[in-house]
């Protein structure tokens, strides 16, 4: 932050997305008033019709880059921001809309629109980091409220945010949740998925479906026989990895491994 004592200016930007990650900020019902006292909202279209000029001390960016106009806009946002943090699976991995990257845009457009020429759409949906330098990526579909508050307060205090890169398994242990795979044979992506959600799915008796994307060093090859043992076909395993973080390299590889096993 600059040496001049002034209120830090926060900006929230939306690209191709569902609005859920920026809504997470408005869902901080208990903290919103305190936060509003600590920062000045420079740009947050969903919450305010007021805009303040750049530069912005912290920009939170939601959504993937999916149109030519967005490609221009993200470069401008980067130039105007001291710190740029991408929030959510769309911004960090291209999101569920990156499934079109596998199939091809013309096929997708033909399903949805009679006149695709009216539509501004790039062939691929890509993460923000593919286009501009990003200071931190906050994972999740959607992001976790506590992690978001940790990131914002860390930047306000000029310290490094504490965002772990270990697996969801750690969070089940912390929460005291019995392993759903060991106890019930429930297929679970927890061992290869990054922590952050608080291990919600296993606490609800459901296997993790990977919405926080791959952990730092995921051993997806070792997980495949376990998934198979618990009744997941290779085709289903490929679909599981190709959902909200399909373009995250480790999950894309895992989906390919599963497909190859199926073919081989």
């Amino acid at each position: 932050m600059s040496a001049v004592a002034r209120t830090p200016r926060l900006a929230v930007w939306k690209f191709s997305s569902c609005d859920g990650c920026q809504l997470t900020l408005l869902d901080c019902e208990d903290e919103l008033l305190a936060l509003a006292g600590q920062v000045e909202i420079g740009y947050f279209l969903e919450a305010s019709s007021r805009e303040l000029p750049p530069p912005y001390d912290l920009s939170l960016v939601e959504g993937s880059i999916a149109t030519a106009a967005d490609l221009e806009r993200i470069r401008r946002v980067r130039e105007q921001s001291h710190h740029l943090v991408t929030i959510g699976a769309c911004a960090t991995a291209g999101g569920v809309q990156a499934l079109r990257n596998l199939a091809g845009l013309p096929e997708y457009q033909a399903v949805v629109y009679a006149r695709p020429e009216y539509i501004d759409s790039l062939d691929r949906s890509t993460p923000v980091s593919a286009h501009v330098p990003v200071d931190l990526e906050l994972r999740g579909c959607p992001i976790d409220k506590r992690q978001l508050l940790e990131v914002v307060t860390a930047y306000l205090a000029d310290r490094k945010p504490d965002v772990p890169t270990h697996s969801v398994c750690f969070e089940c242990k912390l929460r005291g949740t019995t392993c759903v795979t060991v106890a019930h044979g429930t297929p679970c992506l927890g061992p290869v998925t990054q922590a952050g959600c608080g291990a919600i799915c296993p606490a609800y008796g459901r296997g993790c479906y990977g919405c926080f994307g791959p952990m730092e060093t995921p051993n997806t090859r070792a997980l495949l026989p376990l998934l198979r043992r618990d009744g997941v076909t290779e085709a289903d395993a490929a679909r599981l990895y190709r959902t909200f973080n399909a373009e995250a390299p480790d999950f894309a590889d895992a989906a390919r491994q599963a497909t190859e096993e199926e073919a081989g």
């Binding site: 939306k14 690209f15 191709s16 997305s17 569902c18 609005d19 859920g20 920026q22 809504l23 997470t24 408005l26 869902d27 019902e29 208990d30 919103l32 008033l33 509003a36 006292g37 909202i41 947050f44 279209l45 969903e46 919450a47 305010s48 019709s49 007021r50 999916a66 106009a69 967005d70 569920v96 809309q97 079109r100 199939a103 096929e107 997708y108 457009q109 399903v111 949805v112 629109y113 009679a114 006149r115 009216y118 501004d120 759409s121 949906s125 579909c141 959607p142 959600c197 919600i200 799915c201 606490a203 609800y204 008796g205 459901r206 479906y209 919405c211 289903d236 679909r239 959902t243 909200f244």
Partner: protein, 431 residues
């Protein structure tokens, strides 16, 4: 102003709406020539990406269409898939779904009332400005919103993109302790929502009368939310399987959202439609408070829909209380839903209006074809028609003021542009 023959108004990016939209208005010789609500939200091709997915996946996948109303997508998706598989989820499981949905209504409507819409009535750029002038009022809104989120968190696991919903029911049932906690939260919510209704009733509403066809789900003896029969004010009730024959979508050049009509006429879905078609089915105590707040049996002014939203939050709070009080745990968290080849239809009432899904499932349990018609796509033609009438009577205003009023008018419909841009069906271009 009157000597000018041509006038163009442009709102480059609409604030305090969900998603990305713009407005273009052209006026020539004192007549509004063209009004276009331009939706430039990037298309995300959900109907295409659903093809080839397992029949159990649409609830999780389609919830990502909208972070504000993910439960609505999950509920319509579940109903459509269960319909295809010949399973009906009712009894206590159906009531738990209704409870979850009440949570989303409370959260989404309160977000709109306090954070998106009220600043227009208070002449503020955003509601955070209230933090300095009336913090207690803002806290009341946030507390009410949080009550809705807490219901969704208990039943769904988290507030945005809940994880506990599945085809057939839930992954796990709530415990009595969790429901008792919600009951405590709802006692305060009941107080907060009655105060909210009184507060909103004091707003000054610009006049505008609309004469659209209305479309909402109805049920014989209760306010429809997670089930019901699509019913048009003039068209009457029709089977959900006939939805696509009645509601037709077409593509227009200026929008990534398809425009829709009901039997050839622009129609409106959402709070006004529900109130006009189903208001009399609300419990007497809710209707009495609505009357006290100045809401008559019929409402044709979209600016007053904030009042209907407040009444609907009141109803959702009382309905949630009732469900929790009468809850008896069902024998299991979900009914078995084995796949079978077929087509299924599902419609539920998202906070913004009727949300329709159709899935064609094959014998392997894979989705062959998906159609999703969200409420904002249905409302877009009606919104443009209303804006035309609204602007025509306000041409004496200068550009800045007219633009401000147009933005405000658009927000009364609570458009969810993220939803609107993310559907679609095979389109017929009539342009």
């Amino acid at each position: 102003m009157t000597h000018r023959t041509e006038r163009l108004l442009t709102v480059g990016a609409l604030a305090r709406v969900e998603g990305e939209g713009a407005l273009h208005v052209s006026v020539r010789d004192g007549e509004v020539e063209d009004v276009r609500l331009r939706i430039y939200e990037p298309p995300r091709y959900f109907e295409a990406l659903l093809r080839g997915r397992r029949y159990t996946e649409p609830p999780d996948l389609t919830s990502r269409i909208c972070g504000i109303c993910p439960v609505a997508y999950q509920m319509s998706a579940c109903r459509a898939v269960e319909d295809a598989c010949g399973v009906a989820v009712d009894g206590q499981l159906g009531k738990l779904r209704r409870l979850l949905y009440c949570g989303e209504w409370i959260e989404s409507h309160t977000l709109h009332i306090y954070l998106l819409h009220a600043p227009d009535f208070l002449n503020l750029p955003d509601v955070l400005a209230l933090a300095r002038t009336d913090a207690a009022l803002l806290q009341r809104g946030l507390r009410l919103k949080k009550a809705g989120n807490e219901i969704v968190e208990v039943l769904g696991g988290r507030a945005i993109h809940p994880v506990n919903v599945r085809v057939g029911g839930f992954h796990r049932l709530p415990t009595r302790d969790e429901l008792d906690h919600l009951a405590t939260v709802l006692v305060q919510a009941r107080v907060d929502v009655e105060e909210t209704l009184g507060w909103v009733a004091g707003f000054e509403f610009p006049s505008l009368t609309i004469r659209h066809e209305f479309l909402a789900l109805t049920e014989p003896d209760r306010y429809a939310i997670e089930s019901g029969t699509p019913t048009g004010a003039h068209v009457g009730p029709f089977d959900v399987a006939e939805f696509e024959q009645h509601v037709r979508e077409h593509q227009v050049p200026h929008s990534t959202a398809l425009h829709a009509t009901l039997d050839g006429r622009p129609h409106l879905t959402g709070p006004l439609a529900r109130w006009n078609l189903s208001g009399e089915r609300l419990p007497a105590e809710v209707r009495a408070l609505a009357t006290e707040a100045g809401l008559g049996p019929r409402c044709d002014n979209p600016f007053r829909s904030i009042l209907v939203r407040a009444v609907e939050v009141l109803w959702a709070v009382t309905e949630a209380q009732r469900i929790i009080e009468q809850y008896e745990p069902p024998s299991g968290p979900a009914l078995p839903v084995p796949p079978r080849a077929g087509t299924g239809y599902g419609a539920t009432e998202a906070p913004r209006g009727l949300l329709y899904h159709r899935y064609d499932v094959d014998e392997d349990g894979l989705v062959r074809h998906a159609v999703i018609v969200p409420p904002t796509a249905q409302n877009q033609t009606a919104i443009e028609t209303d804006l035309r009438a609204f602007i025509q009577t306000r041409l004496h205003l200068d550009d800045a003021e007219l633009t401000r009023q147009c933005e405000r008018a658009i927000r009364t419909y609570d458009p969810c542009i993220s939803c609107a841009a993310h559907f679609l069906t095979l389109a017929v271009d009539r342009g």
